[in-house]
Amino acid sequence: MQQSWNDSAPIYQQLADRLAVQLLDGAPPEGDALPSVRQLAGQYLINPLTVSRALQALVDKGLVESRRGQGMYVTAGARERLRRAERARFLEREWPTLRARLARLGIAAADLDWKEQQ
């Protein structure tokens, strides 16, 4: 009945990750406000305490900032910071696995289609 949460990480972490993916896509854009704790709680059917923890995790990463009495705002440079962190994570964690799989299948860089799909 709800958005599916898996058992890989605590719920607040999964919500923080999900919100981060949206920030990377520019929703909401830098300088704009995030939905309120209550809006997020209602939307995801998660209690407000857990939502606050997720937002705090984004604050700790410097992606959003709290403005007194006004809620949370996306910081300037948040997307770039997020992109850098995601790049680092891909290169460190995902790439070695992917490279090993490509090697096993005998796929070289030239075999791959590098044109972006429209």
């Binding site: 009945m1 058992d7 605590p10 709680a41 059917l45 209690n47 407000p48 305490l49 857990t50």
Partner: protein
């Protein structure tokens, strides 16, 4: 003065020979979403009835600073309660119920009730007998949530509702009640549905409180370990609370780091730490030995 909305100490309740509540103690602060989890017959309804003064339990109990047995009238005027056998009069129209509540409940706001009902598909002129079960429950929630109170007690509110009605019910509850100040205690055995809603869990098994923990602490205290088949024996030897299979069939086990036989450090290296989910923990802590010989 205390910061707790509910303080229960050594609550015990017997029906003849059967023990419904067995020395239950806990305290509930403000601003929380408490889940009261237990199988059918675990004592959830007995506990809730004791909390609102409808059943006499031994032990010490304070709800909103009142003694539910001696000050039941006063207490019922200050909290929101939907019992498991909740019924709204079938002949009544919704606006008549609002009038009725205005007369009965000093803290009831008719204006707020109308605002809350706007969020549902229930109309003010609808007759209760023409509403679906899901609509009746939503109307009921809208009515009790219009009481200016700090505590709401809901006994299996979504039992028998279809999935859309349950979702609508929880949305209304989270949006309109949970403001960080008010607390709700909600009983259910549909654990998977409420897991993300809850801030805290009370788990009852055969009248005993087997777990009282915040979800935040749960992640620290209980460790779930997903492991490869090759490690199954070593994991089993370390006395996990529960062994189960993840979706996809991978073996997993839950350990209690607080227990006296918490696993040695090396065991936690046998697999990958995952989030212990409430359903698995519920199974681990309330599982009854199947077909156990009766001990009479």
């Amino acid at each position: 003065m205390t910061n707790h909305l509910i303080e229960a100490s050594d609550l015990t309740l017997r029906y003849g020979k059967k023990t419904a509540l067995d020395g239950v103690s806990f305290a509930i602060p403000k601003g929380r979403v408490y889940g009261l989890l237990g199988h059918n017959g675990a004592g959830k309804t007995s506990l809730m009835r004791a909390l609102v003064g409808l059943l006499p339990a031994d032990g010490r109990l304070s709800v909103l600073g009142l003694d539910p047995r001696r000050q039941r009238g006063e207490l019922l005027g200050q909290l929101c309660y939907i019992p498991d056998v909740a019924v709204l009069p079938r002949w009544a129209r919704v606006h008549e119920l609002i009038t009725l509540m205005s007369g009965l409940q000093p803290r009831f706001s008719a204006e707020r009730a109308r605002a809350l009902l706007k969020r549902t598909s229930v109309g003010l002129d609808d007759k209760v007998k023409n509403l679906s079960k899901g609509m009746v429950v939503q109307a009921h929630l809208a009515l009790v949530a219009a009481i200016d109170a700090r505590l709401m007690i809901l006994d299996e509110p979504t039992l028998g509702l279809d999935v859309m009605s349950r979702k609508g019910f929880y949305e209304l509850l989270i949006d309109e009640w949970c403001d960080g100040e008010r607390t709700v205690l909600i009983s259910t055995h549909q654990v998977e549905e409420v897991e993300t809603l809850l801030t805290d869990v009370l788990m009852l098994d055969e009248g005993r409180l087997v777990l009282n923990i915040s979800l935040q602490d749960m992640d620290q205290r209980f460790v779930a370990l997903a492991h490869d088949p090759a490690q199954a024996e070593a994991v089993a030897a370390a006395h996990p609370l529960l062994r189960y299979r993840q979706q996809g069939g991978r073996g997993a086990a839950i350990f209690d780091l607080d227990s006296h036989d918490s696993p040695p450090e090396h065991v936690l290296g046998l697999g990958e730490r995952i989030r212990p989910n409430l359903v698995d923990l519920f199974m681990a802590l309330t599982r009854k030995p199947a077909l156990a010989p009766s001990q009479s």
